[in-house]
Symmetry: D2
Subunit: 416 residues, 4 copies
């Protein structure tokens, strides 16, 4: 009952998941415990996630814990068809293929919801949004939801603010082991990887403009600089802008950055960050990549409007021939580049994020009755558990506070 591109790709998908499993020791350990304890026995879980080898390891862990799992993609270009096929073989209900149309995308969301889930795991809040708009009949069966990404959490907080959110959602994204590692280390390497794979451009000496200096942006700036790029940061928040300045980066409005950038990366969570007037002032050959969740950060339709022709010159790299005679190169159609034009976060990163997701699902099932509708944090001890287990797996030992040191931290009577 799955819908995937090609059932025969399953073997290759399993190979990929073998690599992932070897690089996700924390989730592997949780999988093992779930298998014994069956925390999800009798529960159904609908997931809307990038269908990658790492997601495969997560949903198999949920399944091992007793859950019946359905899965749709959270972005039209991020599904790995071989993994989708392998998961389908393993009994997951998969509705996802790379290059899915907009219409089919929403249909897939609905198919995933058709299982009447107790828990929904979302990445961008499309699933939860659909539940609250066109599938409201399912809400009463929902224990809670989980959200993977910043953009989704922003949407959910807006819903909560408006009183529209009808069940508790764990903002897994906000967990330190999730958002910091994922955003700072994952997105930055993945985006640079995407740019190199789709252009082979030299980073050394390039002027790389990063729009947004949140964790994604800080990571991008750091790593791009590490490959020899001169980094320019654009921001709307003065504290973040001042941070970028003191980190040694040039800070300026996009109107100025547009004129000097060789490469542009958007990681803001907002729309129209690079738009018509910016395209018009760019240098010949500028490269454009978005790594924000939605494909609205670079206004692609305005870019098309300025062009006489669009040529796909290689995978994930479209040359926009502008009326002003210049060529701009757009990576992965403006969809989040690290997934569309590379392979998404490394297994090492997703081990953290998806261990958080697995533990959040268990926490939801156990505690949903005590959680009010709204956005909730993952309890800190689960986060600490994930980090501690990861360090163990890496063979890294750390210090422990002595009881005297603990006492000192609690006290306020000792002085200078």
């Amino acid at each position: 009952m799955s819908q995937v591109k090609d059932e025969k790709l399953g073997f290759q998908g399993r190979e990929k998941m073998d690599w992932a499993r070897r690089h996700m020791p924390v989730l592997a350990q949780i999988h093992e415990r779930f298998q014994k304890q069956r925390p999800f026995a009798g529960k159904k879980i609908a997931c809307c996630l990038h269908v990658t080898k790492e997601t495969g390891i997560l949903v198999l862990a949920l399944q091992a814990g007793g859950a019946q799992v359905s899965l749709c993609g959270s972005n039209p270009l991020s599904t790995q068809d071989d993994v989708a096929a392998a998961l389908s073989e393993e009994g997951i209900s998969v509705f996802a293929w790379r290059g899915i149309s907009n219409k089919d995308y929403y249909q897939a969301l609905n198919r995933a919801l058709d299982v009447k889930p107790h828990v929904v795991i979302d990445d961008g809040a499309d699933l939860i949004n659909t539940l609250h708009t066109s599938r409201t009949e399912l809400i009463k069966g929902i224990l809670g939801g989980q959200e993977e990404t910043t953009t989704g959490v922003i949407r959910l907080r807006a819903m909560a603010r408006d009183g529209a959110l009808k069940f508790p959602v764990i903002a897994v994204n906000d967990t330190p082991t999730k958002h910091y590692f994922d955003n700072y280390y994952g997105t930055s390497q993945g985006t640079l990887d995407a740019i190199m794979r789709s252009t082979n451009a030299l980073m050394a000496g390039k002027t790389l403009v990063v729009a947004g200096y949140g964790w994604c942006g800080k990571g991008m700036a750091q790593k791009a600089h590490g490959l020899g790029a001169k980094v320019v940061v654009t921001e709307v928040d003065p504290v973040k802008a001042l941070t970028a300045y003191m980190d040694g980066f040039a800070v300026m409005p996009m109107d100025d950055a547009a004129k000097i950038g060789d490469v542009f990366v958007t990681v803001t969570g907002d729309k129209d960050v690079v738009r018509q007037r910016h395209f018009q002032s760019m240098k010949e050959g500028a490269i454009l990549a978005n790594s924000g969740h939605f494909d609205c950060e670079i206004n692609v339709s305005e870019l098309k409007g300025l062009s006489t022709k669009v040529q796909r010159i290689r995978d994930n790299n479209d040359a926009y021939r502008l009326k002003n005679g210049k060529t701009l190169y757009l990576i992965g159609e403006g969809r989040l580049a690290n997934l569309a034009a590379a392979e998404g976060h490394s297994s090492e990163i997703m081990d953290l994020s998806f261990s958080d997701q697995a533990l959040a699902a268990e926490y939801l099932v156990q505690n949903a009755k005590n959680l009010k509708p709204g956005v909730h944090e993952l309890p800190n001890e689960l986060d600490q558990f994930v980090a501690r287990t990861k360090l163990d797996a890496l063979g890294v030992k750390i210090d422990q506070l002595t009881s005297e040191q603990e006492k000192y931290l609690e006290s306020w009577k000792e002085g200078t």
Copy 2:
């Protein structure tokens, strides 16, 4: 009625403050406004702060705003005697000199409190602690307090938790423009500066052990690495440890780090981080510096106990000749090195911290009646104001959200 080392140093102190004023444009602008609006008319403010040229600019701004100000030092080794003299000339009641004894230190605290302050500005919570233990009669007159440093905030939160805190305190330290810039950029440069000034040791190739990977520790690691050191991090928190690991640093317990470190820097806020068994396993010539607030992070008395002789080989650098035949070098007697052996944070950094302090004092005076006893945050708009004004002074322009972009961030109905 001040007590300073040498009144005749005033001229030199004013020269130093001239440099500071030129590098503190935000506070200079606040000074100007205070002069017109006199928000502190009739109010008395007691400050316990490192008596540096930048502190001078702060207390003169408070004075310009109508306050009567008393000032004592917050650390025995951090007072700049020339600045103390200059401030005394300007009418501030100063009770501070470099090398003050422990007994005189507490006497100075009391002298500063003798003015019967409405507001207390603290750095390490010694003033507030004294108010709650031996000067309780003054509490009824207090509108509120302000705390400058992490260690102080930890103490105050412990007091609040115990129900012991009797008036509202603004945790100025927790303001983004304070703690992040100060801890990350300020402490790191200052500590390296202190080590270089007191040893002239080459940083390139050295193994530098940073105890603690909070903002101070992250900054230390980053900058030490930037000068060519191999960085080793010790931590007790698994998430921070994992962060250090992924930032490319070696992570291990202090027992292991002690054996390989050439330079040790403690920035944990806890005591006994480097202690007897660590000293005993260290390499010949290891250099020890603390940049945590209190001088308990490196257990100096245990170090003395292991030594046959202690020689001051140059300013702020004591050679401990150990019974095991090795020599360890302690910077600035184990007191916070960036102040004791260098000059504390640059004026550029203190412009942010002390603008926060100035605005916090104004906020306290205007809003104290609405604030309950306990630890409070500085309102975010004041923080944003400070960052924005700093950017202006630096000539840095940033973007502004369009109304469409603002609306997008608020909405939750748009999808993939």
Copy 3:
């Protein structure tokens, strides 16, 4: 009369070369001049080079200058079949395809030599070596040769030392604009790109062992570190080892490094740098990549000997299942990874190298009669011309010495 994989790929090859031409402004300018001045009229040039889009731009420039050009590949895995097809269409005699067998490889060398070249352009000295061993009859017609890579120059200097080299060869590799940029910036990015493309492994936190700290190794260490890796360097030269140490990297013998490395990169120019006893002590999951010219730096046959099974788990990534139960991953069969598993140096880099080659060919044709058999340097003014033209194309302006400054540098009579 070419031999390529698929003539129909020509269109795609021309698209790729369009990108290259846009990113090779110096060579484009030389092409234009050659077209007017025809310096190679009546001359034949045989090239043994990695058949990439950038090589395409070089051989078309030589052709534009009047040369008849033959081209074979310089490595079995580095030929881009679409570029080969496109060049064949343009009238170049191409004998190259990706995955060529060892026997066909040497046959291709001979086909390229069958044109009876006046000039040979080599990358690894295979062509020149063949001329001196099995095709000695052609030597009398040779004006001179040009060598692209360090490994080749080492071989040629050995030949010259033995009195075996029969014609002048320009060591284009030794030109600053060639070897420094190519080795330092090109190989480092390309190798990291190759590792990421073929594994998607996270670099942050990984221990990356670089064997060799020449320019390639220094670049590798710098960029790997820039992506968050902890770098370990192995060396045989004490000065280079000391440099690595002071650059903040750990330095140790391979026997020790083998036990702690997550990723290994060899860039030494020597053989057996990673061999049986190293493989046996490696950690589960270690990744092995060579970016030295020849595939002997990692002893692949010893690796095979230790394995029960070798599985290609994805493009350019073979899992060696060791008898000791561990898995090691070998990138691109141990052939130079940046070409075998990524796309070789960026066009921006090859613009420098191949402008040097184009100018060297012109210089050889004009000056061969004055050059004795042996290894020669490219005249410095050609190197300066290439750098200056590149800066112009990048829009970078630099200072010029005043006549007083020039005079000062020449004089020795001014003192303190």
Copy 4:
């Protein structure tokens, strides 16, 4: 018969030299061997060097080897008076004090030469220049000379080119273990240290302009960036400029850099690099430091000419109040900042340079008869010895080529 500032400072000088000796293990080992073998028995050596604690360790090693040593300073501001006193006590003939006048400086040179040296060790070629201009009568007794710095070597090569150099001189500066470590690691840390000591300015976020991108300049750029500065490079050589560009730094002419720099550092070896028109376009508060050998890189007399007043606001920091209303700060009077305003290279660095000097002196004495007048290199095996001994002292082990690997490097017959 010495001339020093204050004989009573000897005790302190010896303490300083104790630190130096502990951090100069290679030179200490050479000292020990010299003591046994007495290679300089009966020989006189005149040194013109920065009189620092490290120089003390060198001249004592020469003395231990049997030499009679005279010593004058090589820069008016670099003498450490306590070290001068200590060396005088040890029987070295010292003619040096900090703040020596120009006239006394040249007199000191002559006093040092009055011993009628067999070997002269120079730093800037002032001693050798004096020999060739006003003390030609001494030349016949000279076995040879040694030169410590780039500027001196440039002067000596100019002399050799003009046929003016009358004895062999070892360009110790050109030895890898000297110039690379000294220039790249030493000058960079020392200059930043000097700027921080004399200003306490925050480096994070500052725009730091480096004039010259040789090894000193590359080191400066790297370390300044490591402390958070944005680096701008000015150059006259296109290859170096292109290198700076690809290292991720902004490259532009000084006319443009002058307008945006917060801090300027000159390391070119040429004069008038920063001059009148640059001063006039600088920002309020710009900081100027020279770390080239001579004080002509920043044209201080032109700076004075533009100023209404010069105030020493703190040690080594003069405020130039310009007629245009701005203030520029000059570090250490424009003399090489790392020595004038900090303490010169760390002992760890000078261990390499001065081991080279000690071995060069021995080599000269043993081989002078075979060396023609002119500039000579230090034999490579001595350089390798120094590096290898340093690694041993640091506890760093490295690999050794196997005989197969050595053979491979020699051969040219193996192929792809």
